[in-house]
Symmetry: C2
Subunit: 349 residues, 2 copies
């Protein structure tokens, strides 16, 4: 592409601050190759909800569809009841735009501080990616409750899994595994208990595997996966899993590879029937809003994921490398502002 038409949802708290640095780096790298970037801001999140009670108007979804990709900061604020913005903005965006692949790489960057005793448990480093399903599982909002507030209350949550939904994600994961040096795919589920969903996932992996004979396939129950995540994270290359297990394992993965502050993610529509959305995994951290304390690294890495997705992989690699070098050479004893980190990365391009 020679131009990029982006929708930008800064969101709440530090969201707009970190997105600004992501855009700074994006402009720096696209300028060099003559790709022009236009952005349109969309106001979604706590402020809009407080003002108008609106979460995600249909008209906004329609406008978002007209863009090449979406960059999102963070959505959420303690003044909004839990669940309102998650189920009013974040999840509806994933569902409306069919973001079935929620992509979350975990890389132990130089100088990143892991809670693990890395030299002992991951001497060769950490470098894997989780392909989390994003539009099914227990996230479909298909639960209900009876006799609420009485001693006879019953509340259900239904996990919905379809062959169509699982197949497209499993294929995406195999393709990613095939393109990586180690070519290994680990399915994470709990098929000894969640038999129906689990067997659908297992059979789908078995059915697709022969198309990718170069990929080694492995299986772990979600409980065992959390053990290996701490005792031998180097064993993972590509993980494919359902929406809820993926939610859990990616936070753990971010924690062990230097913290959620460095974790980028892509909500990807691999069919390209709607724009994909890229966002740091961290939240809106309203306690440090406007103080220049937020680390924009995850937002910048999310821009790299976006560049990869829109067909500019060389630019993505350049941004990744700039972040890598910035982290390797920074002096952790000298704190930097949000802006300074963005400038430093941009200057390396």
């Amino acid at each position: 592409p020679t131009s990029l038409n982006l929708a930008v949802i800064g969101g709440d708290g530090i969201g707009p601050e970190v997105v600004a640095q992501g855009l700074k780096v994006l402009r720096a790298v696209t300028d060099q190759v003559g790709v022009s970037v236009t952005t349109t801001d969309y106001d979604l999140g706590a402020k809009r909800w407080h003002k108008s009670g609106e979460t995600l108007p249909d008209s906004v979804v329609e406008e978002l569809r007209g863009h090449d990709a979406i960059l999102l900061g963070a959505i959420g604020h303690p003044t909004v009841p839990s669940g309102v913005l998650e189920r009013g903005v974040l999840l509806p965006l994933r569902f409306a735009l069919d973001h079935c692949v929620n992509l979350r790489p975990s890389v132990l960057f130089p100088g990143a501080v892991s809670p693990l005793d890395i030299e002992r448990v991951a001497p060769d480093g950490i470098d894997f990616v989780v392909v989390r399903e994003g539009t099914e599982g227990p996230y479909v909002g298909n639960g209900g409750a009876l006799r609420v507030g009485t001693p006879h209350e019953i509340a259900t949550e239904v996990s919905v899994n379809t062959a169509y939904g699982v197949d497209r994600v499993v294929r995406d994961a195999f393709e990613r595994a095939s393109a990586r040096p180690r070519k290994k795919l680990t399915l994470v589920h709990k098929h000894n208990v969640l038999v129906h969903a689990g067997h659908l996932w297992r059979r789908t992996v078995e059915a697709v595997a022969p198309e990718f004979p170069e990929v080694t396939v492995d299986y772990l129950h979600i409980d065992a996966a959390t053990i290996f995540m701490t005792t031998d994270p180097g064993r993972f290359d590509v993980i494919v899993t359902d929406n809820l297990f993926g939610d859990i394992i990616t936070d753990l993965a971010a924690a062990i590879s230097g913290g959620i502050g460095l974790a980028a993610s892509g909500n990807i529509n691999p069919m390209r029937t709607a724009p994909s959305m890229f966002e740091p995994v961290h939240g809106s951290a309203p306690d440090i809003e406007g103080q220049g304390k937020a680390d924009p690294t995850a937002a910048i890495l999310s821009v790299a994921l976006m560049l990869e997705h829109v067909g500019l992989p060389e630019l993505a690699a350049r941004v990744d490398q700039a972040v890598h070098d910035d982290l390797a050479e920074r002096d952790p004893s000298v704190p930097r502002t949000t802006d300074q980190i963005g400038d430093a990365v941009a200057a390396r391009l």
Copy 2:
């Protein structure tokens, strides 16, 4: 009690070996105070299934009901298809005997090797207990599938949660928190997405809390809980959570506090309408069966949990202390057999 009438299910692989050491330690400690122990063995697991196709006959369940408690080794073998023994023996036992409290303590014993950089992330050690619900949630077997094996397959799993079921577990957790020095309870769920089940759990905790004003209450989403489990495990005291989240978080908890080889568990019926069951969290490890290599520590610690439950807390404390001292003073460079570890702990009583 002056006598204990136990049912023993050695099970598969190393199960019988580690249970034998648990019983050795149990006899050593009960002998001293004149409590007599009788045991009856029940043959359940892979061998029985291979021989007769039986998993858990109703007659066995009825016989088990006649005991004061059940000691279980491990059930599972690679020659049995995944799910058969889990859903044929382990889960039916929990459901039939109404083991609503699945209790899993995590203690960093001296000399235990954690994958975490403990000095940095848990300088004050790790000492918490998870109260996992054991009879509801997505474990109820309430899923199904349509058009299996076709491109139109749909598979569901239903998480069932009742006020009755959640209340009894939450109360048990509050009681445990109240009896511990730090008196802190953390509810772990995902109520921003799983709203119906999540709100039932949240409301139940809020409703019971005023009865325990001395207990501090805290909430974490399951994804955030996995982060804190690695970055600040010392913050946890008592965790209460649902069946599936509890399955995941307790394996992670075992991993960070020295490995699943040291983790004990109790499947407890707090109403005392049926015997409770105590078992090491580890599996049957058939690869080391019969070689004297299995570490019986988790089985011995499970005996301590049993002693506590049957009303012999001083004996439980003595067993715990003996394990503690044994671990503190062992020389990790000198491997010991299963039997030698049992002898060493028994000798300390």
